[in-house]
């Protein structure tokens, strides 16, 4: 399921050692380098446009995502009827459904990433900061957890609790936290030795407070980069679950659901596949270029 493995691996390796970006946040310098990367720059605009479309597009369309147009079933795209992307087998506007599906896919990705970030950061920071035997045990646990067939557990979760969107978020997020925990631990190990942490310790602050107030804020840079790379991964996982029939409940929909439905009718109603697939490809490509750009912007060796 890993989407940008090469980047993630490279990052994970660098971050785990704690030498790559220790303590540096998204500086103006890095930001400038990112904008100078043409692919990343264009991708930022494409991504921004997609997000705006998904969020606000449905409000300005003449049709909504759930009401059938009894006059137009399985209608191909047409300018006159106002169904610019055509309609589906229930007479629903494909443009409205695609935008709505993009919105849900985005939501799944953002929330699942947040879940993985929260668990991963807390776990990794605790292990890294406290260190010693606890660290060894916690990290061994992560190693072993890597060996479990997660997607099976997510499927079991969906089987048990029904097609619940919230659970989908949590389930996928819970799968993705492991690498995050490793990265955060590596960073924390090097942060721990820094003067300001020692100062806080000398001032008598509690461990919990040091972790939440001093360590975590300094992890933002690597965490953001890694999270960018996690989002496409989650979108692909969601579409995989949708194909298996564990997607969101109607009349909600997601890009994965739309594509798996469209794949069945690609010869007779190609528009049902083409438009959602186009959105997914644009979305994944732009995220991938931004991820590349972010990595290059932060990679000390590339300078």
């Amino acid at each position: 399921m890993i989407f940008s493995t090469e980047k993630r691996k490279a990052l994970a390796a660098a971050f785990e050692k704690g030498d790559a970006v220790a303590g540096r946040s998204l500086t103006a310098d890095a930001w400038r380098r990112l904008l100078r990367n043409r692919a990343a720059f264009v991708s930022l605009w494409v991504l921004g446009a997609l997000i705006l479309l998904a969020l606000f597009g449905p409000f300005i369309l003449p049709y909504d995502h759930e009401t059938p147009d009894w006059a137009a079933f399985r209608a191909p795209p047409s300018i006159e009827s106002g169904h610019y992307f055509g309609t589906d087998q229930n007479g629903r506007d494909v443009l409205a459904r695609t935008l709505f599906g993009t919105r849900i896919s985005l939501l799944v990705a953002v929330i699942a990433t947040a879940v993985s970030v929260i668990i991963g950061v807390l776990y990794g920071a605790t292990a890294g900061y406290i260190g010693g035997r606890l660290d060894a045990v916690m990290m061994r646990f992560v190693d072993i957890m890597y060996a479990l067939p997660y997607i099976l557990f997510v499927i079991l979760l969906m089987v048990i609790f029904g097609r619940n969107v919230i659970l989908l978020f949590i389930g996928i997020g819970a799968v993705e936290w492991l690498t995050m925990a490793r990265i955060v631990r590596g960073q924390t190990l090097s942060l721990r030795e820094r003067e300001f942490i020692e100062a806080a310790r000398a001032a008598g602050q509690t461990t919990a407070r040091i972790i939440t107030r001093h360590i975590t804020p300094n992890l933002i840079g690597p965490v953001i980069i890694y999270a960018t790379l996690t989002v496409p991964e989650i979108i692909i996982t969601e579409s995989f679950l949708s194909y298996l029939g564990f997607g969101v409940q109607e009349p909600l929909t997601s890009l994965g659901t739309l594509i798996s439905e469209g794949a069945d009718v690609m010869e007779v109603m190609p528009w049902l596949l083409f438009f959602p697939a186009l959105f997914l490809v644009l979305f994944l490509l732009s995220l991938s270029f931004i991820g590349d750009g972010l990595r290059d912007a932060f990679d000390p060796k590339d300078r």
Partner: protein
């Protein structure tokens, strides 16, 4: 571990070597799911029936149009009170290992399926047989009390609880197949393994790879062996109907037992005459929970049922033209009146139906200011989803807000059984050709009555019909019962099922029929 691996590879080698046999005529059938078993006492689905029904044969069997004809029995007599059936077996019939098929095998089989230890899930179809139900439920321990006895080697006597006009038809069902007593007693539960299996029907399983296929071969001991035109049948497991259609187009399958609705038009244009859509004795309906407000109010049930635009569902939403259903019993069943009872409002204009429905909802105290909030459940399936989406849009016009909820089949029916529903999708395919099979779904004492609709009058009419011998009077009683149910909107019938097959022009002897049963015995394949 070593042994485990060895056997794994042995199995693989065995199945991989089942290579091409150039001369043999092989029929390739798309069969959706994996069979649970090849044991006729342990199966329950039509995909299992296709295989098992080719391998075993009951006292009666189905002809090319799925009508009951003599099978292992050549003739029979029925006593005047309709309670005793005496069957005479064909001469010289044999199991595939050469042992004779005797009346004893039948007695053994009927006792076995009723034995609680067998845990057969479909045993209840043979409950018309005397003492079957008490034995199956464990009230009577003595299996010999069952009303089936061997008079001699080739004569079998079956006694019934009460006269049952459809009993001969029920004997074609796989619950009435014999099993080889000598093999079952010898091998126990393993008798059905490929290396042990012995059959009395036209075919015999020779290979089974779960998740891939079951392969059968014709049985040389079968009495009609000389007329079998197909040498081997391969039943493929493939749940994905669009993948199956692609394989059909590439010539890998000869028969598809389902096709994606959206491709129907395409099929008609590109493979004219190959998609076979025909009436099927079954009903697709929505149950409404009559035990809880708001659906305990018949006016609301009727309003919802009226507002379903059935005429667009078959032709437009499904695209295969399933006929709109306004009655509970599908047209054309045996032992019934000519036309089933249609709802009084069936012939109104759709707009008039919607107006009337709005009035009913208002009468019941709901409307735009006080909308009804109802959950509609369906089991995960593309067609069920489309119908649910369309119907909830039709109901929205009445000011009814629907929340859709889909779950896989196991969850769906588990919740329905617990009564955890407001409105839910359900369907029924007739097991035998008699209206009782469908009407009993609305009996208040039966588990399949998911809506918990209860009418003493209905129950009394069905009970009276059960003891009525005169078929005409019985049909009248059943018709009255159907009227009671439909007038009270016990549930909302939506459409009558159609069987949907795709049959290659190379195949002949595949006749469309109301039970969608097509035995390979009658088919042939030209190259």
């Amino acid at each position: 571990m070593k042994k485990f691996l060895l056997s794994a590879f042995a199995v693989a080698a065995f199945t991989l070597s089942g290579a091409l046999n150039a001369q043999a005529v092989t029929l390739h059938v798309h069969n959706e799911s994996d069979p649970a078993s090849l044991d006729p006492h342990k199966v329950s689905g039509d995909w299992e029936n296709r295989i098992v029904g080719d391998m075993f044969e009951g006292l009666l069997t189905e002809d090319v149009d799925a009508k009951p004809v003599p099978g292992q029995a050549k003739s029979w007599e029925i006593s005047d009170d309709g309670l005793t059936y005496t069957f005479h077996l064909r001469d010289g019939i044999k199991w595939s290992d050469g042992a004779p098929v005797t009346a004893d095998d039948f007695v053994f089989a009927f006792r076995r399926i009723m034995d609680p230890a067998t845990a057969s899930s479909y045993a209840y179809l043979q409950y018309p047989i005397k003492n079957a139900e008490p034995i199956n439920s464990g009230e009577v321990k003595d299996l010999t009390q069952l009303g089936v006895e061997a008079v001699d080697e080739t004569t079998l006597k079956i006694t019934l609880e009460s006269p049952t006009p459809y009993f001969l038809g029920a004997l074609t069902h796989y619950t009435a197949y014999p099993v080889p007593k000598h093999v079952v007693e010898d091998k126990g539960a393993d008798w059905i393994k490929i290396e042990n299996i012995v059959t009395n029907g036209p075919y015999k399983a020779i290979e089974w790879v779960p998740g891939s296929h079951v392969k059968t071969e014709k049985n040389p001991e079968y009495y009609d062996f000389d007329n079998l035109k197909i040498d081997n049948v391969v039943f493929y497991v493939l749940e994905d109907a669009s993948a199956a259609l692609k394989r059909y187009r590439a010539g890998e399958f000869d028969i598809l037992t389902e096709f994606p609705s959206d491709q129907y038009q395409w099929l008609q244009e590109n493979h004219p005459g190959e998609a076979r859509v025909a009436p099927f004795a079954g009903l697709y309906y929505y149950v409404m929970n009559s035990s809880k407000p708001p659906l305990d109010d018949a006016r609301i049930r009727q309003a919802l049922s009226m507002a379903i635009n059935r005429e667009v569902i078959g032709p437009q939403i499904l695209g295969t033209g399933e006929p709109a259903a306004y009655s509970w019993v599908p047209p054309g069943m045996n032992n019934y009146v000519d036309t089933p009872y249609n709802a009084e409002w069936a012939d109104l204009d759709y707009s008039a139906k919607v107006e009337k429905a709005k009035e009913l909802i208002a009468e019941a105290g709901y409307g735009p200011d006080k909308p009804l909030e109802i959950q509609l459940r369906y089991n995960t399936n593309e067609n069920h989803k489309r119908i649910a989406v369309a119907i909830s849009a039709m109901w929205k016009v009445l000011g009814v807000n629907i929340t859709l909820f889909n779950a896989e089949t196991k969850v769906h029916y588990a919740e329905l059984k617990k009564g955890q529903l407001e409105i839910a999708r359900a369907g029924w395919l007739a097991d035998y050709n008699d209206p009782v099979n469908l009407l009993q779904l609305l009996r208040s004492d039966i588990g399949d009555n998911y809506g918990r609709w209860k009418s003493e009058e209905f129950d009394a009419l069905l009970a009276e019909a059960k003891t009525t011998q005169d078929l005409k009077a019985r049909a009248e009683l059943l018709y009255k019962a159907e009227k009671v149910a439909i007038d009270d909107s016990a549930a909302a019938p939506i459409y009558y099922y159609l069987s949907r097959n795709v049959v290659s022009p190379k195949i002949s002897g595949f006749n469309s029929n109301t039970f969608d049963i097509h035995r390979t015995r009658w088919m042939s394949k030209s190259e």
